[in-house]
């Protein structure tokens, strides 16, 4: 009979109490799975959507463009750069774009806003949120045509309809004010008023001509990667390979609003999980301590017949181990169908937030799903199990500390 077997049998002496304790472990696990899973999925979605709104996960930019953006700052040799970056492991898409400020005018009004000049052949709904959120018409088909796609709020402000004229004006590389007339070929609606009321998609080669850029010049080259968590490392790698004369920045530098919001939310989430974990641990500690104090005489007999305090400590700790393990297994069994449901169907919050929600001008997906990264699974399981073991430390210490003769006096 070894300690592990004895510990296993001991925890089932009071089945109901053990089950209740294991359930608290398993519900702690469930909470951690849901909380972390919604977070892992939500943050990834937010970052990916933010990346698809212009800068990508990693951005090649002119030096200091991030500090003071200007249309006279640009990168040259974008075609060659794109080809080289595409060959790097972990890169999903590389797209050159021109972004800047402009004035937009219709027959009745004019407003300031932002433009985003793109090559329709390079773009897709998967990597461009504006295309995904098109609600009317379609994207222009050529890079030098006169079609434009506007946000619905901007269309509303300027009194624009499909096919109507729009004049856009900006300053070229020589500091001259230049204008162009276009027709509305499509409209998008992200749900974020600041974006829908200010953003316009333009054909990239037409913008190049107007600005006086060469065919292989752009204000940025956006890199979309397979896993947004690796953006920092990827930026460093791309910088070392191809970053001469350019800034190569991860989204944490180019999308600080989104990054800050994620950081705050994550921190609060973890704080709450720690707090809940400590509460559950306290409950487990109480239960195991009760089980130890109830067996004071039994432990006294064990020590009297030769069991060392160290072995007694190990026995009680082994009981905590089993409780943690059973709780984890129960937690996995309970969490799995719930995880499956939320990972496939999701939690629909559209009814609760009818006007939509955004973070850092990035629309928030209101059908929230769940997804746990492998390292999150390891951290959750490890932490829950560790907290259970830690909860058993004090009772195990108490078990080994009472002198045998004191224990034997207990009736």
């Amino acid at each position: 009979m070894n300690l592990w077997k004895m510990a296993w049998r001991n925890i089932w002496r009071r089945k109901r109490r053990t089950f209740i304790t294991c359930f608290s472990v398993s519900f702690g696990l469930l909470y951690a799975v849901l909380s972390t899973g919604f977070g892992d999925w939500g943050y990834t979605k937010l970052v990916d959507d933010s990346a698809s709104m212009g800068y990508g996960h990693v951005t090649f930019e002119p030096i200091d463009y991030n500090i003071s953006p200007s249309l006279d700052k640009r990168i040259s040799g974008t075609n060659e750069l794109k080809d080289r970056v595409r060959a790097v492991d972990g890169v999903a898409k590389v797209i050159d774009r021109i972004m800047g400020q402009a004035m937009f005018a219709s027959a009745s009004k004019s407003v300031g806003g932002m433009f985003f000049a793109i090559d329709p052949a390079q773009e897709s709904k998967e990597y461009n949120l504006f295309l995904k959120k098109m609600v009317k018409g379609e994207l222009f088909s050529t890079t030098d045509g006169k079609g434009v796609v506007v946000g619905t709020k901007l269309a509303e402000k300027l009194g624009l309809r499909m096919g109507k004229k729009l004049i856009y004006t900006f300053t070229d590389v020589d500091g001259e004010i230049v204008s162009e007339i276009a027709r509305v070929s499509g409209m998008f609606k992200t749900g974020v008023d600041e974006v829908d009321g200010a953003m316009v998609l333009l054909p990239i080669d037409r913008v190049r001509n107007i600005l006086g850029y060469r065919p292989d010049e752009a204000t940025l080259v956006a890199v979309i990667i397979d896993d947004q968590r690796r953006a920092g490392g990827m930026a460093m790698k791309l910088d070392s390979l191809f970053g001469d004369g350019m800034d190569v920045l991860p989204f944490t530098e180019t999308q600080k609003d989104v990054t800050s919001m994620i950081f705050m939310d994550k921190s609060m989430n973890y704080l709450f999980q720690i707090f809940l974990g400590l509460l559950v641990s306290a409950g487990i500690l109480n239960t195991i301590l009760m089980a130890v104090l109830e067996r004071t005489r039994e432990f006294g007999i064990m020590m009297a017949i030769g069991m060392s305090p160290k072995k007694l400590f190990q026995l009680v700790l082994a009981e905590s181990f089993w409780i943690g393990l059973v709780g984890l297994v129960m937690g996995i069994v309970i969490s799995s169908p719930i995880y499956y449901y939320f990972s496939t169907t999701g939690l629909d919050l559209t009814g609760s937030v009818p006007d939509g929600y955004s973070a850092g001008n990035v629309p928030f997906e209101l059908v929230m799903k769940i997804k746990l990264f492998p390292e999150s699974v390891v951290v959750i399981l490890g932490t829950v199990f560790l907290l259970t073991l830690l909860a058993g430390l004090y009772p195990a210490y108490k078990a080994g500390k009472v002198p045998p003769v004191e224990s034997l006096r207990v009736i």
Binding site: M6, E298, A304, P403, L408
Partner: protein, 231 residues
């Protein structure tokens, strides 16, 4: 130290306890020796100090003054871990009640101390089956304590106490919780082990049945030796 067959020696042992503001002397300057093979009872009224003497001999408690020897080793000088080892290897205990681990079978309870000693499976099996047979429990190895009568449980406790071939078995009121017939059968077992195997027994009791069987009776009164009679 020249043992001369002496298993246990108390030399001017005193034990005092603090109970609140009061200092209580449980054992008062007691000296005595026990030899191998003795079947001895320590008796006296409640509070006379007999359980305290057994606890000290078992290394569960230490004297306030005086010396205590087990097989020539001075007990009060041993560290906590050495005391544990001594109890594990050289002393068998039989208590009045709550002796057995409720989650272990009769076999596993008897085997318990051999496990602590790290014996091999084969050695454990041979020893445990023998002692269970010796105490009349052959065939009941797989029963749990709640499937055994009070007397059978005490037999398992006796088996556990002797399986390691200890220097001495300390039995504190072993017949207190059983009926007369069971008490007699338990005493038959212990007497047989004493006579045939030479196991040394020291009982703390005021059960006349035990005293009738003892070959030496040590009477304690107010923590002092009142009489020491060999039959």
């Amino acid at each position: 130290m020249n043992l001369d067959g002496i298993i246990v020696k108390l030399d001017g042992v005193t034990k005092t306890y603090n109970e609140g503001q009061l200092e209580v002397t449980a054992v008062n300057n007691l000296s005595l020796e026990l030899k191998k093979g003795e079947f001895t009872v320590i008796c006296g009224p409640s509070g006379s100090g007999k359980t305290t003497i057994l606890n000290m001999l078992g290394g569960l408690d230490l004297p306030s003054s005086g010396k205590l020897f087990l097989e020539g080793r001075e007990i009060e000088k041993l560290s906590r871990s050495k005391l544990s080892e001594m109890r594990r290897d050289r002393i068998g205990f039989v208590f009045q009640a709550y002796n057995l681990m409720p989650v272990l079978t009769a076999y596993e309870n008897a085997e318990f101390v051999l496990n602590l000693q790290g014996r091999s499976e084969e050695e454990k099996r041979v020893k445990v089956m023998k002692v269970l047979a010796d105490v009349g429990l052959g065939g009941m190895e797989d029963r749990m304590p709640n499937e055994l009568s009070g007397g059978q449980q005490q037999r398992v406790a006796i088996a556990r106490a002797i399986v390691t071939e200890p220097a001495i078995v300390l039995a504190d009121e072993p017949t207190a919780n059983v009926d007369s017939a069971t008490a007699d059968s338990l005493l038959d077992v212990m007497e047989k082990l004493n006579k045939e195997e030479g196991v040394t027994f020291l009982f703390s009791t005021h059960d006349q049945r035990v005293m009738d069987r003892a070959r030496r009776i040590i009477r304690i009164k107010d923590g002092k030796l009142d009489s020491d009679v060999r039959k």
